[in-house]
Amino acid sequence: MSLIDNERKIKELQATRALLDAGNEYDQLSKEIDELMKETYDHLTPWDRVCLARHPNRPKAIDFIDGLFEHFYELHGDRCYGDDHAIIGGVGYFHDMPVTVIAQAKGKTLQENLDRHFGMCNPEGYRKALRLARQAEKFHRPIITFVDTAGAYPGIEAEERGQAQAIADCLYTFSDIKTPVICVVLSEGGSGGALALSVADRICMLENAVYSVLSPEGFASILWKDDSRVQEAADVMKLTSYDLYDKGIVDYLIKEPTGGMQNDLKLVLHDLDRYLYETLQTLKATKEKDMLDNRYGKFRKMGSMSR
């Protein structure tokens, strides 16, 4: 049975249980629920994690911004063409320290998602990120990026306005920006569209998030010309947080409560808050040149044969 089916069943059982008074039947049902939960969440397949990462109730970037930063002011526009709503950028306080936040934002409702292109950025989104990054560099503010996108938006206008150039420019500029950058992979990271905001000193990732060269659907359709083999694709792609941690691409994993972070966002926020705070302290104490050398070294060794 798939994860979604199990989840529905658990919900149904819980609803039934809520109508019951304490007693044998109640205990019986509780046991059943526990067993089902264990069965569902103890051995998550990669595809289950993809489903969790795309879970409709999963908190979005905006929840993290609300939960982590104070006095957040959103800043708009790339000063070239327009404002891409798939990226929320702005400034705020993190533990009394001014920071710049750049977040790929999926919406919560269909209407909002249409407005935000389901978190898929246009070139102006990446250029907005670049503008804010340069601004952060000027005012010596650390940058915190949140990655949550299936990929860059594939559209005629996006190509006309230079999607490839915008992403390339992000990789280029972030590799050498003279202020600490920390990247948080929230749920889904796909292709160059996600990588553009992932060039950072530290990358941390939520346990149920996935990060890959492209979506399992796209992978199956390109490689096997058959997009129904998504589960198989997810299995071979090594896209879970644990795979990436093993590979050394991700520096830190943030544990999620059973069933995903929607069940207890506070716990996740607390862990993330502590991680960000400690890492920022470390990075701020590092000399600028060392920090940049470390950042270069981090990416330089990826896929290098000496490893």
Binding site: E160, G162, Q165, Y172, L195, K247, M302, G303
Partner: protein, 289 residues
């Protein structure tokens, strides 16, 4: 009698129309090494005139795909080429199903170890680090080794203080290597940034096709970006865009001419003039740093 004549006439007509019927033209069985058919105008052209013309169709000017070795031969002064990192070659570390066979096939059919060749050569007497990708090797896809070789090429140029030219042609990241191939984009971009900080001069040469991860990293980072005519250059694949927006794509979408019009490349140069233009640009930028 009249009837008979009419009948006879009718038959004759039928026969003559049968004679004149549209015969399916039989494809001439021509060995590859004598004639070659142009991909665009389907004209059969003697192979030697193709070679003389740098694999550009003399009839319609279509630029055929050429291999990395042919590209190097056409750009670099004779006897000055020295290849670097030629032994680097991909292995299927992750045991991706079917990847071993694909690699083996690509190696056999191209005689190359990977989809890119790096080295130092002279272009009209000017030394330059040149990396040339080859689309015949698994669509020129960028895996760990391709990324590593190009990155080492960039670092070589940084170390030797030489200008750098990368001739791009690629379908994008190599799917079989997953996330590692994606990370090559960041790695090469970071190396290019260091090269640029040092004052290095970098030309990108875009050839058909340059898409996906390669276009969204080093292909778009040149100080000067040059393309061959009619080359397909873009980030997202046409099918993906069509599936997303459910519209027909305009004609000439994602061609070099389209990008020139939109302001993303500097110039379109025909293959015959490439060497001259590139070496002139190298001279303009002082040859050596």
């Amino acid at each position: 009698m009249d009837q008979l004549f009419k009948k006879r006439n009718q038959e004759l007509k039928e026969f003559s129309s049968w004679l004149k019927r549209h015969k399916p033209k039989q494809k001439k069985e021509v060995p590859d090494n004598i004639f070659k058919q142009c991909d665009a105008c389907h004209e059969s052209i003697p192979y030697f005139s193709f070679v003389e013309n740098n694999y550009v169709c003399p009839k319609c000017g279509h630029h055929m795909k050429i291999s990395a070795r042919q590209r190097i031969r056409s750009l670099v002064d004779e006897g000055t080429w020295r290849e670097y990192f030629e032994k680097d070659c991909s292995v299927n570390i992750e045991n991706f199903p079917g990847y071993d066979e694909k690699l083996k096939k690509a190696k056999m059919s191209t005689g190359m170890n990977e989809a890119v060749i790096c080295g130092i050569g002279k272009m009209n007497q000017q030394r330059v680090v040149l990396c040339v990708m080859d689309s015949h090797f698994m669509m020129g896809s960028m895996g760990k080794v391709v990324g590593e070789k190009i990155c080492k090429g960039v670092e070589l140029a940084t170390r030797k203080k030489l200008p750098l030219i990368i001739s791009c042609t690629s379908g994008g990241a190599r799917m079989q290597e997953g996330i590692d191939s994606l990370m090559q984009m960041a790695k090469i971009s970071a190396a290019l940034k260091r090269f640029s900080n040092q004052g290095g001069f970098y030309i990108t040469l875009l050839t058909h096709p340059t898409t996906g991860g390669v276009s969204a990293s080093f292909a778009m980072l040149g100080d000067i970006i040059i393309s061959e005519p009619q080359a397909l250059i873009g980030f997202a694949g046409k099918r993906v865009i069509q599936d997303t927006i459910k519209q027909e794509l305009p004609e000439g979408f994602q061609t070099a001419e389209f990008l020139l019009d939109k302001g993303f490349i500097d110039m379109i140069v025909e293959r015959q003039n490439l060497k001259t233009v590139l070496s002139e640009l190298l001279r303009l930028h002082g040859g050596k740093l």
